[in-house]
């Protein structure tokens, strides 16, 4: 299976194949042996050392009690958090924002406003209720990742929201002076 991931403005392609208790993940031509086990919403990820010597049963899971030491693995604690249409993968406490290409794009209409859903990856979303102070871009405009696109006033402060990715402003759903609810999609960057 091919999974395309966009990370820090770059595209990475991963090929994922399950072999017994271990996944083979090939990223840009580099093959990794990965074992993943879950504990209450947290994942123990083990990645085989590249030069690990493997026993006869090369794809044995790390926990097997075959007797003797089979191999050493790099160990990480990973959690996956959804963030609108994107994800944040926390690796040993360090957050890595990324987007997973997902063919299923759904939107829901709730009380006449479009709300962010998985698949709408370029959405600029209001994190809390507020008022649009200034719209900094217009449809068709090219923007860079993290470029300021709209200023929202909330909690007595002005906050500049940024483009989650580089691209073109596809749609602007707000005008200056409008009030917005939490999770409202303010604009979409494609």
């Amino acid at each position: 299976m091919i999974v395309d991931v966009e990370i820090d403005g770059r595209a990475r392609r991963a090929e994922v194949e399950r072999r017994g208790a271990v996944w083979q993940v090939t990223i840009d031509g580099r093959a990794l042996q990965v074992a993943a086990a879950a504990v209450d919403g947290r994942w123990s990820i083990l990645i085989a050392h590249r030069d690990a010597r493997r026993g006869a049963a090369g794809d044995e899971a790390p926990a097997d009690d075959g007797g003797g030491v089979a191999s050493a693995w790099r160990s990480y604690e990973v959690t996956v958090e959804t963030d609108g249409g994107r994800h944040i993968v926390h690796v040993d406490g360090r957050p890595v924002p990324l987007a997973i290409a997902d063919r299923r794009a759904r939107t829901r209409r709730v009380r006449g406003e479009a709300h962010a859903a998985p698949g709408v990856q370029g959405a600029v979303v209001a994190p809390m209720p507020g008022r649009i102070v200034k719209v900094l871009v217009e449809p068709g405009q090219t923007v860079a990742a993290r470029q300021g696109v709209v200023v929202v006033e909330a909690m007595k402060m002005e906050n500049e929201l940024r483009a989650p990715r580089a691209g073109t402003v596809a749609a602007v759903h707000v005008t200056e002076g409008m009030s917005v609810e939490a999770h409202a999609v303010l604009m979409v960057i494609e």
Binding site: I27, A63, I100, A154
Partner: protein, 504 residues
């Protein structure tokens, strides 16, 4: 004192409730509508709803809080910090209702709450004060008089609100030409924020350090000052990291600071906990800045280096106990403590508040680590209040060990569902100036400006590879419903994905 009503919320309410438990005093919680399921409510023996979510509808309602104390039969009221803690009218209302206000007398709050009166009191007690105007400049004082005062003080000059404090409502004026418009704007802001448009002027010291002295005073005239705290790491005048002792204060300066603080407190008949804030310039000269007539957010660092429980002593002083603290013990630090204020803010979006549901939280622990928090998995960071998640404190036998432990603790801290400043603190502790403790009150603002918005979540390539691999397995599990084994059975990746899908 058998029962105390905690007139606050969040982590400080939890802190006060813990002190009550240590003294076997029954705690009473008050809560706004959105705080119905908050931690502090569940920790108390009794709870009284006091109104709507906005502070003005609940935690600032003096009448409702006093009524809550009445119907529960509370003996005392602890105001915490913020909200009504420095509201002289609240202290007076408690006193008039026969309640013991766990803090200073209303008159001391009123006196020190006027920043110009506080400056006069400090000067009268022999403390050096930042050169500035002695009287409030109300609406009746015209621009020529203010311009003359600014000339006398010397530029750059700070315009501050007389009724302000806590770093709010301040403006810097570099040149005489900018003074008139800055005064107009400052007056208007002060009127809106504090209900009093009077301002005063102070010289702006160049790159000072913010050093403060905690003190306790009992009702019998004993005043005990503590070893100082350094709070120079500030973002837009809001403290972000505090530590004790100050790496810049030698014993000689410490004696001067603690003696000056004690003299000021004694001269105004102060009782209970308070803090005198000073600015210290590059030559070691110190100047009184203001007095905070309440317990402060950063009190844990003082507790860690002295072993003294300040909240417990607040309650004991209020019920009439005499201070039996050895002054030498209070003024001599044992080891070093650092505190990071973990806020639900997005450091990559200008530290914009990030309210919402906390979907997962695991606080650090281990040697030298203390986490003062009301946050928990399944909890909320409401939009109506300060988005503080926790105060993370690390103690070590010296500053390097305290810093190393803080780094370890920050790396262990797992909070999801809201953005936090944890990543920002990990970056900050790696800065060479932090290790060298060579900072001042403008240090952090300057450093952040230099970064020009570079994300704090930048990740090195080896971690990126792990993240991509994990994301790929996550996605594969979601699509084929054949996720990785949960310790040998089950499909927990898919469960996670389904939950995420429902939430999205």
């Amino acid at each position: 004192m058998r029962k105390i009503l905690v007139a606050n919320r969040g982590e400080i309410a939890v802190r006060i409730i813990r002190a009550c438990r240590d003294l076997q005093i029954a705690p009473v919680a008050v809560y706004s509508a959105c705080d119905r399921t908050a931690r502090h409510v569940r920790m108390a023996d009794e709870a009284v709803p006091i109104g709507g979510n906005r502070p003005a509808d609940s935690y600032l309602r003096i009448d409702r809080i006093v009524e809550a104390a009445r119907i529960t039969g509370a003996d005392g009221v602890h105001p915490g910090y913020g909200f009504l803690a420095e509201h002289a009218g609240f202290a007076a209302a408690c006193r008039d209702a026969g309640l013991v206000f766990i803090g200073p007398p209303a008159e001391a709050i009123a006196l020190m709450g006027s920043k110009t009166a506080a400056r006069r009191a400090a000067a009268a007690a022999g403390a050096p004060i930042v050169p500035g105007t002695d009287d409030p400049l109300g609406a009746d004082v015209g621009e020529p008089a203010i311009a003359a005062a600014a000339e006398r003080i010397g530029y750059p000059v700070m315009i501050k609100a007389v009724a302000g404090g806590g770093g709010k409502g301040m403006r810097v004026v570099e040149r005489p030409d900018d003074l008139a418009s800055a005064v107009r704007a400052a007056r208007s802001e002060a009127g809106a924020a504090f209900g009093d448009s009077a301002i005063y002027l102070e010289r702006r010291l160049v790159r000072p350090r913010h050093i403060e002295v905690q003190l306790l005073a009992d009702a019998y005239g004993t005043v005990v000052p503590f070893v100082e705290r350094e709070c120079s790491v500030q973002r837009r005048h809001q403290k972000v990291v505090e530590e004790s002792p100050s790496p810049a204060v030698l014993p000689g300066l410490r004696s001067q600071l603690t003696a000056a603080a004690a003299r000021i407190a004694a001269s105004v008949g102060y009782v209970n906990a308070g803090t005198i804030e000073f600015l210290v310039d590059g030559t070691g000269a110190f100047f009184f800045l203001e007095m905070n007539t309440r317990l402060q957010v950063e009190h844990p660092v003082t507790e860690m280096v002295t072993g003294i429980d300040l909240v417990e002593w607040q309650i004991r002083i209020a019920r009439g106990d005499r201070l039996t603290i050895d002054p030498a013990a209070a003024a001599t630090p044992r080891g070093h403590a650092v505190e990071c204020r973990v806020y639900a803010e997005d450091p990559d979006a200008g530290f914009m508040p990030s309210p919402g549901a906390i979907t997962a939280l695991r606080a650090p622990a281990g040697p030298g680590i203390r986490d003062d928090s009301a946050a928990e998995t399944g909890g909320e960071v409401p939009i109506f209040y300060d988005p503080l998640i926790s105060k993370l404190v690390a103690w070590g036998s010296d500053r390097p060990q305290a810093t190393a432990r803080m780094r370890r603790a920050l790396a262990e801290y797992d909070v999801r569902g809201v953005r936090t400043t944890i990543g920002f603190f990990r970056w900050l502790l790696d800065q060479p100036e932090f290790a060298a403790a060579s900072f001042h009150t403008e240090y952090l603002d300057e450093l952040l400006q230099q970064r020009r918005g570079t994300p704090f979540s930048a990740v090195d390539l080896s971690l990126e590879e792990v993240a991509v691999a994990a994301a790929a397995i996550y996605a594969a599990g979601r699509r084929t419903d054949a996720g990785p084994r949960r310790g040998g059975s089950g499909s927990a990746w898919t469960q996670q994905a389904r939950t995420d899908g429902v939430r999205g």
